[in-house]
Amino acid sequence: MIELREVSHAYTTKAGPLPVLDNLSLQIPENSFCAVVGPSGCGKSTLTRLVSGLMRPDEGQVWLHSELVSSPRPTVGMAFQNPVLLEWRTILQNVLLPLEIVRSPMSKAEATQRAHHLLDLVGLTGFADKRPSELSGGMRQRASLCRSIIHKPDVLILDEPFGALDAFTREDLWCTMHDLRAEEPFTCLLITHDLRESVFLSDQVIVLSGRPAHAQYVLEVDIPGKRTLEDLYTPKAVEMLAELRRQIQLAQGRTAPEPAANPAPAAAPVRGPIPGAMG
């Protein structure tokens, strides 16, 4: 369970304080998958840094499993758009890196076995002893995903991990994410700018408003059972995507064309409860 309570944060810049998050509240239930979308520069990466404990908010609180987050914690895994593999290590050594930092009940042999298992799962069988420079962008991102969960974190934070990949590789990795989740439980916070990705992967999509950001809209994605890419083309999914697109346009400050059937008010429309979001 991840919970943000009325979080506000500003950066100090040469031109003065830059408010980035404004009274942001959200809840991500245990072992559920939450995608966050929003205009570029609205504070999405800032959000991940607050949840991971790399930064503390100016105001408000971040809670993980009813514990206040005030510093980084080893039960969190992270992956970024830039896979940042260490070029001087093999893929296996890269995947094992977190275990050199955090204490783990796993023995070295168990850890290696787990690394191989994860590499198999993401389709990198046989690449354990290769160097990162021998891998394509998509493969590097797969390795980075393995690294982010090698130490069995209960919270996974992904900041646009598939953003720099081509469409086919990206869809492939979406399915890999589902496989990983089926394998072991974790609560996931995914930042993305791909609406289809957000709907396909998550149980909940949160749209952030423009900077300074608050939760503008929450979409519950109820596509039951094992999802396939075809699920994105059902009328229900198409409607969800259309609504998300409208919300993004709204967040970008453009006025969305009024939908005929479901007229959206100019102020932030909210479907589903956002605790605390309304102040």
Binding site: S52, P74, N82, V84, W88, R131, E134
Partner: protein, 254 residues
């Protein structure tokens, strides 16, 4: 042609070609020895003074290597300070640039005066002073341009700054470090010789050069230049070999 053979053959062919050209140019222009010695004049000098060449080369070599070692330690330290602290970087940079801009030939007599009679120490000092700058700059740039994600990956797990430096920043900076070391090794070598020639104290190849100059033995002077070149090549390739070992991963597969 195999890779190894070509790597050996190519420089050999060029060296022989250049020596032949040199020999021919001296002969063709009918230059006397006191203006330009030819390669064939040098061989008798090497044969005659081979023991001196060995002793003096060793003196030049070890003092260069010690000076360079000092430059690596101090340069890396300064680079680390400048790489991690923006305040230190902005404060130290102009001072370093100014220090580097001072021609070391002017520093030699001053150093010789301060530490009078400490010839080995003085020589090492000049070799160090002339060569630490590129190392400090490259390490500081390597550290300050580390992508924040690298740091975050470890920091989000609760790693200490030292762990981040040891596991990521240091190895990641190695290619830049070795690039600078290749420049520094030649500079240190120049520093040693500068001391040996500008402040003569009877040691190193610089001294042999000087005695050639005093006795008007021009072929000997040229022979010393060749020995210096050979030593410089040796030092440079030692650094290249170290680079292969410690930063070989940075070489892209062809």
């Amino acid at each position: 042609m195999s890779d190894g053979l070509r790597k050996f053959l190519a420089p050999t062919v060029f060296i022989i070609g250049i020596i032949a050209l040199w020999e021919w140019a001296v002969w063709y222009n009918d230059l006397p020895d006191f203006r330009m010695a030819s390669p064939s004049d040098l061989i008798p000098r090497f044969v005659q003074f081979w023991d001196l060449f060995l002793i003096k080369s060793w003196e030049t070599l070890w003092r260069t290597v010690v000076g360079l070692g000092l430059a690596v330690v101090v340069g890396t330290l300064i680079g680390m300070i400048m790489g991690f602290s923006r305040f230190a970087r902005e404060g130290l940079y102009p001072i370093l640039v100014g220090f580097n801009a001072i021609p070391k030939a002017t520093v030699v007599p001053i150093v010789a005066l301060i530490f009078v009679g400490q010839h080995d120490f003085n020589t090492v000092l000049i070799a160090f002073m002339i060569s630490f700058f590129p190392i400090a700059v490259s390490v500081s740039i390597g550290l300050s341009t580390l992508e924040p994600e690298y740091r975050d990956i470890l920091r989000s797990l609760g790693a200490s700054n030292f762990t981040i430096f040891w596991k990521i920043a240091l190895p990641k900076t190695l290619p830049e470090f070795f690039g600078a070391l290749k420049v520094a090794v030649t500079l240190a070598f120049i520093g040693t010789n500068l001391m040996e020639i500008v402040s003569p104290h009877g040691r190193g190849l610089g001294d042999l050069f000087d005695s050639g100059r005093i006795s008007g033995d021009y072929p000997l002077m040229f022979a010393v230049l060749l020995a210096l070149a050979a030593l410089g090549i040796l030092l440079f390739y030692v650094v290249v070999a170290l680079e292969r070992i410690f930063a070989g991963w940075a070489e892209r597969p062809q």
